[in-house]
C-alpha cells in the first residue's frame, strides 16, 4: 500500500486547511519537481488540525485558514516560524443568478431571507460576528435581523457553502476562494469594504519538525512561488 516509491525519499507532513486543497496540491507538485521532496498534506478543518497537532505531537508544517490558530500554538511554544501567505476574504455567496437580489451586507437583514453562517467555533463564524460589530459602529444595525435570518450554522466553511449550492438557503457568508470554486452554482457578492475585515492565511513551521531544512525549503517555496498559484485559485496574495 505504501507506494511512496524510493524508500529513503524525504517526506514532509503538512497540516493544511481543507479549503486550500486546490492551490496546495499544485504547489506540492511544483515543489517536488524542484527539490525532489515529497509533501504529504493532511487536509481537514483548521481547528481539527490544531487539535490533531496537539494530540499527536507530530508534523512539520501547519497552514490553517486563519492566523488565530497559529497564535494558539505559539502559546504552547509549538511554532518555530510563521508568516502570512494570502488573504482570506469573506464574501456573500448567493444562489446562481442571485434570485433574492442581494447586493451587499445590508441586504442580509431582509425580511424572510434564509442565511447560513459559520459556527462561532470556526474562524469564519468568529470573523463575521466582528464584521457585524464593525458595521454597527458605522450605523448598519442588522445584527438582530441577521440572527433571525440565520437558519443554520455550519461546522465547516464547506458545509456552509453547501447549503447555498444545494439551494437550502438563499445566502451564506464564506471565503471568497471557496465560492470561487463553484462558479456554476453560486454567485459572489462582495461585502462592502467599509465593513469587511480580511483574514490572512499563514504558513508556519512546527517545532515538532524533525527536518527543519526541508520544512524551511517548503515554507519559503510557498511564500514565493506559491503566491502565484494561490492567485490562480481566487486567493488574493499578500505583498
Amino acid at each position: 500500500v505504501d507506494n511512496t516509491g524510493a524508500e529513503q525519499q524525504e517526506v514532509l507532513h503538512a497540516y493544511v486547511g481543507a479549503g486550500m486543497q486546490m492551490p496546495m496540491d499544485e504547489i506540492a507538485v511544483e515543489f517536488e519537481k524542484k527539490y525532489g521532496i515529497k509533501v504529504e498534506y493532511d487536509y481537514s478543518g483548521s481547528g481539527a488540525l490544531l487539535s490533531k497537532i496537539v494530540a499527536s505531537n507530530q508534523g512539520d508544517i501547519f497552514m490553517p485558514g486563519d492566523c488565530s490558530y497559529v497564535y494558539q500554538l505559539e502559546d504552547k511554544e509549538m511554532i518555530k516560524e510563521c508568516s502570512n501567505v494570502t488573504k482570506h476574504i469573506p464574501v456573500i455567496a448567493v444562489q446562481k443568478g442571485n434570485p433574492k437580489n442581494i447586493t451587499g451586507l445590508s441586504d442580509l437583514g431582509q425580511n424572510g431571507l434564509e442565511l447560513a453562517l459559520g459556527d462561532d467555533s470556526i474562524s469564519l463564524g468568529k470573523l463575521f460576528k466582528k464584521i457585524l460589530a464593525k458595521a454597527e459602529t458605522k450605523g448598519l444595525n442588522i445584527t438582530k435581523a441577521v440572527d433571525t435570518n440565520t437558519v443554520v450554522t455550519g461546522a465547516t466553511v464547506k458545509q456552509v457553502l453547501l447549503y447555498v449550492t444545494e439551494k437550502n438557503v438563499d445566502a451564506a457568508v464564506v471565503w471568497k476562494a471557496d465560492a470561487y470554486e463553484n462558479p456554476d452554482r453560486v454567485d459572489i457578492v462582495p461585502i462592502e469594504s467599509e465593513y469587511n475585515i480580511v483574514k490572512t492565511v499563514p504558513i508556519s513551521i512546527l517545532s515538532t519538525t524533525e527536518n527543519y531544512e526541508n520544512s524551511k525549503l517548503f515554507y519559503d517555496f510557498v511564500n514565493n512561488e506559491g503566491k502565484e498559484i494561490f492567485e490562480k485559485h481566487g486567493f488574493v496574495a499578500l505583498e
Binding site: 478543518g45 487539535s51 494530540a55 470556526i122 443554520v152 450554522t153 461546522a155 458545509q159
Partner: protein
Amino acid sequence: MKNNDFLKFFSLFALSVFILFILMIVMSIVTNISFETFYDSLFSKEIQFAIKLSLETASIATILGTLLGVPAAYALARYNFKGKDIVDSIVELPVILPPLITGFALLVFFGNTVFGKFITENIIEILFTYKGTIVAQFFVATPFIIRTSKSVFECIDEKYELIAQSLGSKKYESFLDVVIPMAKNGIIAGAILAWARSIGEFGATMMLAGATKMKTETLPIAVFLNISLGDLEKALAVSLIFLLVATLVLVIIRSVLKIGENNDRL
C-alpha cells in the same frame, strides 16, 4: 486439567487484550481532562442543552424506528416475495454507508428533489431543525432494529401463531398477543443498539440539521465544535460526558429489564 487449559488461557487473553485496548482509549480521554474543565463543561448551559437534545432525539428516533422496523422485520421474516434477498441487502445499506455520505444524500434529497422539498415545505420542516437530527438518526438506527427483530422473529416457531389462530385469534391478534411478547427481549436489544447508534450519530446529523448551538447541537456535534475550536481539553471533557451519559442510560435500561425478567420468574 492443566494441559488442557490452553484454550481457556488463550481466549481469555484475547479478550483481555481487546478490553485493555478499549480501557487505554478511555484513559487517554480521562487523563487529559482537569476536573475543573469537566465540571465547567458539564454544567455549562450549552452542554446541558446538548445532553437533553441528544437524549430526546435518540429516544424519539428509536421509538419511530421501532414502530416502523418491527413490522418490517416481521414481513422479512415471515413472508416470501420476489427479490427478498435484494430487499434484505437494501435494508442494510444505511449501515454500510458512511454517515457523511448518508447525511449528504439526505440533504440533497430534502433540499433538492421534488418529493423531498414537498415534505420540508408542506409537512414537516426537516432541514436545520432538531427534526432533521431525528430523521438522520432514524435512518441509521432503523436497520439495527430490523435486523435484530428479524432474527428473533425467525427464531420464534410459527406454530405459536398458528395455534393462537387455531384458538380463535385473527392474524394481527396473534402477532400482537403472542409474537410481540415472545420477541420482546430481542426487540428491546435491537432498540438499545439503535439508541446507542443514534446518540452517537454525528456525520449525517451535522449535514442535515446543521451544528447550530442551542438548537441542533447534540453531544457529538459539541465535541466536533470544540475540536474545531482547537479546544482539546473541552472536546475531551464533552467526550467523557457523552460516554458517561450513554453508558449510564444503557446500564439503567439493562438493569431495569433484568429486574423485569426476574419478576417474570416469580
